[in-house]
Symmetry: C2
Subunit: 652 residues, 2 copies
């Protein structure tokens, strides 16, 4: 069965393409389905349970339909793909088309169709079968090939892509083009050492980091869901990002590997702002999807700016983000103008919360997503910090002062007695909750998806300030220790019934959701790097294996895989927005990253092994250093980071 998704990428140039049937299927958003069968079964009756995935690569896929004995092969192009079905000789060779889409078949093998995605976005398909068939789509030949391309503009535009990418090409040629493209990408990082399993897990993660954003430009034009228009533009237009998920590690990784592509993505953000009047939170094919809380494009733009990327119209970007910060509601999963809650925030520096059981009276609040009062305050503190820093970089000094002040909002919700960020009501009184349990599904009255144990650490932009709140380095360290060992206080299934996103648990720490990623690196900020080193190795070993368990939570557009790529190489960008990395414990003994500027960044870990996971010494470009930090500049200048590894903790 072919499932054509509107935005599933399997090609390196970040072009849209179809993606074939998956073992672990998610079928949200599939728009076209095509099934090869050996009988005349009607669509609804044919359940293809009996398939076996025989081989899968980003550039080639082979599936065996056991009961029908049909071999299905696939090779992707940029905006297109080719299927090949090999039927058993003495069977009916038939294709079923999903009944819900508009298909047009003519006698000469051409097939076209259109389908509606998300209720508002048209997806078009143009394709050709390579062999004759009758009116019931029954074929004479035992091998049937289908080439097709998709478009968001028209069938004619799909046909243009078809002509450019597929016409006159055979399966092997299309596969080889895709293979070569992926090999270029995968060869950008070379590794030595580690186990085969670690290398597999690493390159699988690296592959996943190329899933989004997706370039939807088609030959000098693109359809934008942000104003529902087709635009002529030679610069690639990228959609499908999840800023809350990707600002921490995915965008920073791309700023290293593909800075020019990142620049195109940021330019897309600016165009989306121009087209819709708002800087998007989660730009999708159909427009902005106001997911989660905060709007962390602020952090991504600051990060890119400080890392020396060229942002096409940075003032326009700043204008859009400032408008978001001051004129848009902070309510989770909501776009739109300020509400009473936002006015309250602007005056008081925190989002006010309801007491347990108290009825919501603000009509704009999403009935499921709730106020997320603590999470909103922490998230927008980070946004305001980033805006303040960017304002300063751009010379908007009074803005800088305003946002610097706003960035300290997080302190208003620190409850020193509880040692948690806790909610307050409108009268500035603490609301006495159990931060590990209260707040309804996902703790959303106060936190979001994770509980207060995770939100305790959401001040990545001001770690010294956070350490101070905890009362010093030792208490900060103890609290980190406690986090990784704390009891849930109930059965795990009871906990997950309320916090289903808090997967990959170690104590109260969740490896399976983005707000946790930077936490294991925080030991580095209190002189206990060995605890970071041990924890990172342990987390990679437990949660990111090369097997069917895959990853411990939502991939979320590369967010989680970027954690794996960074951590396996041996460092991590704890504070997105600061051009600084902190060192963990690499699983490889040598890693070379070939940069777009022609230079190589090299990481060498002498004596690195499963046992030798503790950093004994650090050199950058041959010079010893006494801490576990280095800069983006050192990296992109082709620096060489040397680590001496050993089996006992050192005091670095």
């Amino acid at each position: 069965m072919i499932r054509v998704y509107p935005l599933r990428k399997d090609y390196t140039d970040d072009q849209i393409t179809a993606f074939p049937l998956q073992v672990v299927g998610h079928n949200a958003g599939e728009v076209f389905c095509i099934k090869p069968v050996t009988d005349s079964t009607r669509w609804e009756r044919k359940q293809l349970y009996d398939h076996e995935l025989e081989e899968i690569h980003p550039w080639y896929y082979r599936n065996w339909l056991v009961e029908d004995q049909i071999l299905v092969e696939y090779a992707p192009g940029k905006k297109c793909g080719m299927y090949r079905f090999t039927y058993p000789a003495h069977a009916v060779h038939r294709i079923l088309l999903s009944p819900v889409d508009k298909w047009v078949l003519n006698g000469n093998g051409e097939i076209s169709g259109s389908s509606l995605y998300h209720g508002d976005t048209k997806v078009y398909l143009y394709g050709q079968f390579d062999s004759p068939y009758d009116g019931a789509l029954t074929f004479k030949d035992g091998v049937v090939a289908l080439k097709y391309a998709i478009s968001y503009i028209s069938v004619a535009a799909a046909k243009v892509s078809f002509e450019q990418e597929l016409a006159g090409k055979g399966f092997a040629e299309i596969e080889e083009t895709a293979r070569a493209a992926w090999h270029r990408i995968m060869n950008q990082i070379s590794v030595e050492g580690g186990t085969e399993a670690q290398r597999r897990a690493f390159f699988t993660a690296l592959y996943r980091c190329h899933e989004r954003m997706v370039n939807i430009s088609e030959e000098g034009a693109y359809y934008s869901g942000f104003d529902k228009q087709v635009h002529a533009d030679v610069r690639p237009f990228y959609v499908d990002d999840a800023a809350w998920d990707t600002y921490q590690a995915m965008h920073p990784l791309r700023m290293i590997l593909h800075p020019h592509q990142e620049e195109d993505m940021l330019a897309s953000y600016v165009r989306m702002y121009e087209q819709s009047g708002w800087m998007p939170q989660f730009p999708r094919l159909f427009g902005d999807h106001a997911c989660m809380n905060g709007f962390h494009s602020t952090i991504i733009f600051l990060d890119a700016y400080r890392k020396g990327l060229h942002i096409a119209d940075v003032e326009k970007a700043y204008e859009g983000m400032k408008k978001n910060a001051l004129q848009a509601t902070m309510l989770p999963w909501r776009n739109g103008r300020l509400t009473w809650l936002d006015e309250f925030y602007n005056h008081n520096g925190y989002y006010p919360a309801l007491r347990p059981g108290e009825k919501e009276i603000i009509p704009e609040v999403d009935t499921f997503e709730k106020r997320q009062a603590v999470a909103v305050t922490l998230g927008h503190s980070y946004d305001d910090w980033a805006l303040g820093k960017l304002a300063k970089e751009l010379g908007h000094d009074s803005d800088a002062l305003l946002f610097e002040k706003r960035a300290r909002a997080y302190m208003n919700l620190w409850n020193a007695e509880k040692e948690f960020f806790m909610p307050k009501d409108e009268q500035h009184h603490w609301i006495d909750i159990d931060p590990g349990w209260d707040g309804g599904p996902g703790g959303r009255d106060y936190y979001d998806e994770n509980n207060g144990w995770t939100y305790q650490w959401q001040v990545a932009f001001d770690i010294p300030g956070l350490i101070q709140l905890f009362g010093g380095r030792e208490r900060f360290e103890r609290k980190l220790d406690t986090l990784f060992h704390a009891e849930l206080g109930r059965q795990r299934y009871q906990f997950w019934a309320k916090f289903p996103d808090a997967t990959g648990l170690m104590g109260q720490f969740s490896m399976g959701n983005e707000p946790g990623f930077h936490i294991p690196y925080l030991y580095n900020y209190v002189g206990k790097g060995w605890k970071t080193q041990r924890m990172i190795r342990s987390l990679l070993d437990i949660w990111f294996k090369d097997n069917q368990f895959g990853i411990p939570g939502d991939e979320d557009g590369g967010g989680m895989s970027a954690f794996v790529v960074f951590s396996s190489i041996g460092f991590y960008p704890v504070t997105a927005g600061e051009p600084v990395y902190t060192i963990g414990s690499p699983v490889f003994s040598k890693v070379v990253v070939h940069l777009e500027n022609g230079k190589d960044f090299t990481m060498v870990a002498h004596n690195c092994s499963a046992v030798n996971k503790y950093v004994q010494g650090v050199k950058m470009n041959g010079k010893e250093r006494k801490d576990l930090f280095f800069t983006h500049e050192e990296l992109v200048n082709g620096g060489t980071l040397e680590l001496e590894m050993g089996d006992k903790p050192s005091h670095l």
Copy 2:
């Protein structure tokens, strides 16, 4: 930190022993704790979070306490063990004892103690340190060793074990004795082929299959929790079984590998009956723990009888089981006399259920475990079937007729319209529930731990009868297909909040709980062996890896690991109580099982590989056969089973 458990086994002769600190700890029932430390921290303040398990075998274990830099080593004996702590040279060398137990220390290095387990069972310890210490248990030497033994009779009895097993022996000698004992056990099965990971998973499972039952005899005497007396007896007395979990695969596996040990275990069951007046359900150290439903010793005894084991006093066993069947309540998690519900069952052939929301009026019903009305009916149908067959074997013909009739009770709850076993009320009316969801936590109003999708198949003793209920082989097969692909109808976390035991999900099939084990083999009974073969390979591959994810649900005393051992070798005892095995798909190309009778059973799978998982042909002792079944007699006579494997399904 040493934790001494009352019944944790790490030695082959099924003797009790202490077990050291585990990575994945369960500390229920620990009775003594001892911690090596390098400072004067009080017990409560010292949390040993920072340990790293460096090496673990059944016979040796090494743990590194990172912060204290103490090396902890351990080697087990039968009822004893030896610890060795290596402290850093210039640190305090100190031992902390758990404050809750009664410790006696004298000046010459001896240590003894006693502790209460389960509120009613005394556990005694006797040990010796090998080096001098002061009153605060601070040692001069940098290496401190502790040898100790435990007993359920007295400190003096523990000292006898100590003298016999430990006195005069060094660490290496104790370790070597344990190693040799485990190697004897592990070498009982030799395998060729498969991957290293499959061999690791297999031998880990085989190890786990030796966890229980546990021989608690001490030099010609044992303490019995069934009458709270010490008995003189030279025959080993075994406790700690979970019949609901182990009758399917664990006892059958032991009947192949260790039939004499199994005979001792069954003799222990008979003694428990004599001592307590009831045949136990889950015999534990402290007496019977009436867990789950049914009392499947019936099935185990029948199975052993038919497989030619010598049951010491089979008439006495039968007497006890008949008494259980006719005079004991069937209520889950309850011992005791008949209730009104049991009388109802005896007259009407099913356990009556309450309608959703209906209030319980029978006082004996456990408020959490509920009636489990469908599960009870299915479980006792199996018990009655086994008792009927055993009665026949023993010549109790009128009993045989009675129990054969009772064994058909399951048919009373088959709802042909729904194709599920469904509950009925007292008036013989169906209760219209969603069998996949209703019944409260674990579906316990009607089912138990799993939902109706699993209980649909709980007629392993009459598969032809079950096929008939489904309306024939094709519908039976389709329903199996559906089971493995059916939607949960809700988010997984919502499902697990109600059915936390239904882990290892594939569709509505649960690999993580005992009632599921035989289900993938049922395709063999409708001529679709290839679907069994594919499913078994897939289940082993997904759920039983050689990594930290371990097993997908409760181990339950070897129940789950026995499934892995059987399935990896290539066959399974679908109907415990019938001396017959059905063939799946071995992961190994050759397996030899060395039997106690001196013969070898050999399984050869020609061309077996990850791809060649389908059985193309079967030979037993060189003779071709046309089905996928063979007998226990063929196995214990040293038969050779030859399978021809291929990559395409055959019609065997």
